[in-house]
Symmetry: C2
Subunit: 225 residues, 2 copies
DNA sequence: CTTTATATAATAGTATTGCTATCATAATTA
DNA sequence: TAATTATGATAGCAATACTATTATATAAAG
């Protein structure tokens, strides 16, 4: 039996649904690969088109511009991540264990999930680390936010905030702590590999250390005093 | 008596020292203004040139490209910030008070410091919040890091890590906590204004709340248990 | 007081980026 | 069989990201 995973995406993110055609799927697949390879700044639709044997105009039929494509794959990632959180924390009632599970999921390298054929999740995770902040660090944040482009990210933040509150209902900053965990999971990994003196993990380069740091930080903050 | 502040910048950041000429200073002054106004993505040397009454080629004589200019002003900001930390924590021995001072400096709006005539620090702070991550989230990090472009940021991180250690010499993650404080001071403020559901400060929009959150986070983590 | 160096202005030019538009054709669907 | 739909092929255009050349004004050095 084969199980396949389909994620329902915000329709305003694309001009034509890339999940529904062969070319569309290749745009996503090789888009992820190319951004990973050369970085978002050097990435162009022309290069992507050459890479998948179509024309620039062909890619533009699916996405308004490369920034929209980045938002699309980022939103896809966080939706997928939320699904993982749900299945991985299923039947766990202890909020401490739940929270630890989430932190591990956030900071540890993912293996490619074969349920989504054209998405390499491991590569995607690396893109999220290096590029995802660029989706919202723009003059368009407010508009893009109104279109609900960041909904998957915000929903995840709300889910984590809820776990925090169920651990300690009196903790005053559940959402800020949630967004801190998410962002720092990405940033500390990026720093560890690229600017190691900004972390304490320079020698080992082990994502478990990031997990330990975040767990210590979070549970110190929310432990009932 | 007039006191003026000069910050010695890494020579590799520019082609010609902008501090030493009139045009150079205008490039910095109006560069900050224009990036603040239209965002780094829309910012071009052509627009800047028009804005200050020179030509595109004129600006290129000072900076290799706009990314270098962004690194320059970011490095300037962190150098200046480090100087502020030094004078503001002078004669304070208690590491707790020191750390609180640093957090306040990080998260609270700065007033324009008249010691630096051509730099509007308040505007610059807003650029740091929205654009500074883009200096290192590139495929060039490693190279740029080797050229010491991020030294001011890393030095500040080390200074904060030292204060953390003097508060609790046994704390295991002083550097990661330091970079977390710095990054989160910027991100929580950005979220508060632009994606408020990622924070707990949506209604008040008050930077003091960010300070409270960070203080709570930091001192919970480093308090001796 | 002349020579030299320095800073800028003015202009031109080129490759790449970031698009939009049009037309033809192949493959599906009604 | 007709009508969509998806793609391919080609063209074109304005903006971006530079580099190069020449002229001129000014300041510093001899």
């Amino acid at each position: 039996m084969e199980v396949q995973l389909q994620i329902k995406m915000n329709e305003k993110l694309f001009l034509r649904n890339p999940e529904q055609t062969e070319l569309g799927k290749r745009i996503i697949q090789y888009g992820i690969q190319l951004i990973h390879e050369i970085g978002f700044e050097s990435f162009t639709f022309k290069k992507l088109a050459e890479c998948i044997g179509t024309t620039e105009a062909g890619v533009y039929r699916y996405f308004e511009n490369k920034h929209r494509l980045l938002i699309y794959i980022t939103a896809w990632y966080w939706s997928w991540f939320q699904y993982r959180v749900k299945i991985e924390t299923k039947n766990i009632n202890d909020p401490e264990i739940k929270l630890k599970k989430v932190i591990t999921l956030l900071a540890k390298t993912v293996e490619d999930d074969n349920k989504t054929l054209h998405v390499n999740e491991s590569m995607l995770h690396q893109i999220i680390i290096a590029e995802a902040s660029k989706t919202y660090l723009t003059k368009n944040v407010t508009e893009d936010n109104k279109e609900l482009f960041f909904k998957p990210y915000k929903d995840l933040c709300a889910i984590i905030a809820d776990i925090i509150l169920s651990y300690n209902p009196k903790y005053k900053y559940p959402r800020s702590l949630a967004s801190t965990i998410i962002e720092m999971a990405q940033f500390q990994i990026f720093f560890m590999y690229n600017l190691p003196s900004l972390t304490d993990f320079s020698k080992t380069k082990n994502e478990s250390k990031v997990v330990s740091f975040l767990e210590d930080l979070v549970f110190s903050a929310i432990r009932k005093k």
